[in-house]
Point group: C2
Chain length 377, copies 2
């Protein structure tokens, strides 16, 4: 019997038993000493994961909520921003700006490609931007952008640097302070191995200063309210308590393992996945691969939508498809968080079966072997 | 041995074992047929609970997120709104309006009191408002406002009617369509017996028309995005999947029990609580009592903050204190959702012990007996 329901998607990722255990406990009230104590510990632990000495604020929201917070708290009408858009999630920053009537230049690259630092440098020289928005791991394409390099360029201008690290955090190396990131964004349902429902935003001193002047309207996502509450180990609005409690557990697990070790192990799984993909004669979609998710081109003659549907309906293996114009053209395999080499081995075994059913020619068994050589997170 | 940790707070309320069971299951992906099917069922079920034939949208947010959505999607700069503010949560609408620079008249009543319909009528005659914002159960004072009466008055004007039913839903009778409510707001962590993390907004046809013209900026809380996604049984942003799955279970439990029966049973518990409070010689704070939460005046000579602290630290009974200027002056006992008469009996037994310790004079045992006479939800 094959293990049913193998989740190989880049959010939600599978939940460890320790997390399920916390979620199954009776709920506690958030205005108690017990909760305040935990929330304080969680807020400190998030700083370690974000690699920052600044505050990390916790919103009850999808990751997009924190993306919006990274804009509405720091920008004023009349400001211009630059968005590096290489996929659906980069583009989302531009959509948010549009929703708030903020002028936004988009530096674009074709899906699957990353930004040439010289292009970024040129664009920054052209205009004075209030902030630059980039994406660590562009989940829709599997591309890892060079945040360190971009941060270096942005830091030469009087300008904030915001990074969507929703998918990338804990999968790919990410250094908020070290890479001069003023606003780092993440969410609970990726490398943090939690259910979706929490979003995070770290705010540098420079960004905090800008916050005082920013004139865009806001309330639910007003960082000043979260900042005031955090001083009392509190949230301004009833938080997603269960997920915060599970986050406390996860942060303990991460601390025990060590962030550097998690990065290394995730890299090994990612490398094994890329090897497995290529050993099937399949092509990687991303020109610069993330360690969180691998995007694979659907081979000619294979119906990509059908491939994923059979995998899911008949084998219980859930991989992610391409989004919007990439639908049917790529599929994506995650290898972050609690995803293990056993999950990937089983996933590839099923993938091979389905590819064969769909008439794609390759040597059976060539992908699975990459996961039997002691790769362990 | 006394049962530890009896949660008698108006949100979060205790979670039924059926909910904990769902939360403890492996997570599923939201872009699957399985989830879409559940989300469709949940969205239909919410209509029954809201007593509306219109769509109910689900946000991953605290209740305040849906309060903000009830404003930013329907109001434009230059519009004026009327807020009926009888407590902290009524006032929150005014704070949101302020955050968005929207002119807002507040009709106020002292904490603990409700609105005289003649005052509402007069205020509505004075000006042309784009929308009126009211609160069903003002959780901070335990007051139940006459939404049916206010709805009747508002409906005579060309004006939207928005109601915060976050705490009131499933505790006090509430009829979205029947009471001419255009925008009904609720959250997951009250009568719905779920962890906090989901917020809901129902939108009438009249409100939906207004939405097309509304010019306030928005993105994460843009109802149009949720509406478009809902047509595909989807969410625009990764939803708090675990809580949606638990909501599916809760809606099934509610359907089995019947909403009218839940209202009746909750009313009985509320009446027993009010009797219990008064039998201790204590005074009710709310002039018009909700069935969701009972606010009690701290008697002269007793330190209200200490009372709750001892109850919690030494007896594991969590009641809610007064907020802001009511701190130390009232305490609040919830009796909605999964709170049982056994919980209340145990809570009052401990309350009696602590009141006695603090030197308050009353006849021991007089409160607990109200919960032994077969009141059952």
């Amino acid at each position: 019997m094959r293990k049913r329901s193998i989740l190989l998607t880049p959010g939600p990722t599978p939940l460890p038993p320790e997390v399920l255990d916390v979620l199954a406990r009776p709920i506690i009230h958030h205005r108690t000493q017990e909760y305040r104590h935990i929330f304080k510990r969680v807020s400190e632990g998030l700083k370690e994961v974000f690699r920052t000495r600044h505050e990390v604020y916790t919103f009850t929201a999808s990751g997009t909520g924190a993306m919006e917070a990274s804009l509405v708290n720091f920008i004023s009408p009349g400001d211009e921003i630059l968005v590096l858009a290489g996929g659906k999630f980069g583009e989302r920053f531009a959509e948010i700006a549009q929703g708030y009537g903020i002028a936004c230049d988009c530096l674009r690259v074709p899906y699957g490609e990353t930004f040439d630092l010289r292009d970024v440098e040129k664009q920054l020289a052209r205009k004075s931007y209030k902030a630059v928005y980039a994406t660590l791991l562009e989940t829709s394409t599997g591309v890892l952008n060079d945040i360190e390099g971009i941060g270096e360029l942005v830091s030469k201008h009087h300008c904030l640097f915001a990074v969507d690290a929703i998918s990338g955090l804990l999968a790919d190396r990410f250094e908020t302070d070290g890479w001069k990131v003023d606003l780092a964004i993440s969410g609970s349902q990726k490398g943090l191995m939690l259910p979706p429902g929490l979003a995070f935003l770290s705010v540098s001193s420079k960004a905090k200063e800008a916050m005082g002047q920013a004139k865009l309207p806001r309330y639910y996502l007003d960082v000043a309210l979260y900042d005031k509450a955090l001083r009392e180990e509190d949230s301004p609005f009833t938080p997603a308590i269960s997920i915060v409690l599970a986050l406390d557990k996860v942060l303990e697990m991460i601390r025990r393992k060590g962030i550097e070790n998690i990065w290394k192990a995730t890299e090994k799984l990612a490398q094994a996945t890329r090897n497995a993909v290529q050993s099937l004669g399949l092509e990687l979609f991303a020109k610069r691969s993330s360690n969180g998710v691998t995007a694979v081109k659907v081979p000619a003659g294979v119906d990509g939508v059908k491939l994923l549907k059979i995998l899911q309906d008949e084998y219980g293996v859930v991989m992610a498809g391409g989004q919007a114009e990439l639908k049917g053209k790529i599929f994506r395999i995650a290898h972050m968080g609690y995803i293990t080499q056993e999950d990937l081995a089983a996933g590839f075994e099923c993938l091979e079966e389905v590819l064969q059913k769909l008439g794609y020619g390759f040597k059976r068994g060539s992908s699975v072997k990459w996961f039997t050589s002691g790769v362990q997170v």
